[in-house]
Point group: C2
Chain length 136, copies 2
Amino acid sequence: MERLWAVAWLLGEGMQSGLAERGLTLARAELLWQLQRNGACAQSALSAALRVTPRNITGLVDALEADGLVARSAHPSDRRATLVSLTEKGKATTAAMGRDQERFARELFADASSEELASLVGWLDRLLGRIRARLD
Amino acid sequence: MERLWAVAWLLGEGMQSGLAERGLTLARAELLWQLQRNGACAQSALSAALRVTPRNITGLVDALEADGLVARSAHPSDRRATLVSLTEKGKATTAAMGRDQERFARELFADASSEELASLVGWLDRLLGRIRARLD
DNA sequence: TATTGTTATACTCTATAACTATA
DNA sequence: TATAGTTATAGAGTATAACAATA
């Protein structure tokens, strides 16, 4: 199924396009996206969500903090933990990323009928379920 | 279109699974795959095909050569160029990668009817065309 | 004892720039 | 002059291991 490889690769490239123009890498964008979806959280939670080591999160948060996109603060009840949250600039950036993604999706599906879109969405959901089941 | 992001991400993860067990990284696997598809070629051709710098190809070929998966040889007509080709071990490895990919695709589409598969293949081809057009 | 985040260290992928050999 | 591949250097992402502070 060489086609599947190609689609996976090209879809990935497409979804990444525009990040560099915003001064972001894929890893940093994923961290921002996680904060946008689930709100402020401890680095340990980010480590679990992004499936990378705590050390890796330290580096990503350092870089995003230096760019003013996220802020560290004390955890209210656990003095070991550090809360990471989006700054106003970070919120604006994730909103812009969302618009980029929406524009990309709209280009891809510009001439699809609503029945075609419905069938595609069905496929995507089933693929998501199967791949998640396979990875976990 | 958050679903599209998730599918792109999970599909990429799924296609990569198994590489580490074979001692490969994604970048090295892509170079091997290129050689398997198009046969032996100069490093400059690999640089163009993989869309990375010549310096990057040097490093990847160094690593694959050290693992005995590819071999460098003199170009027959251009003494500046270096031909890169798969060794027997490299051919066996790409064949195994192909089987891994096929098994993954079969798992994903195990319970799909042939009409569903046909419609999905149509979608994939159209997506490929659109994304390629957008990237180039 | 276990968890949270850090420092220390190392490997891979990637890039640019300067250089050599060849075309 | 231009191209093919290399050395030199640098930055980003990733990992493991050891450690301090806290739970």
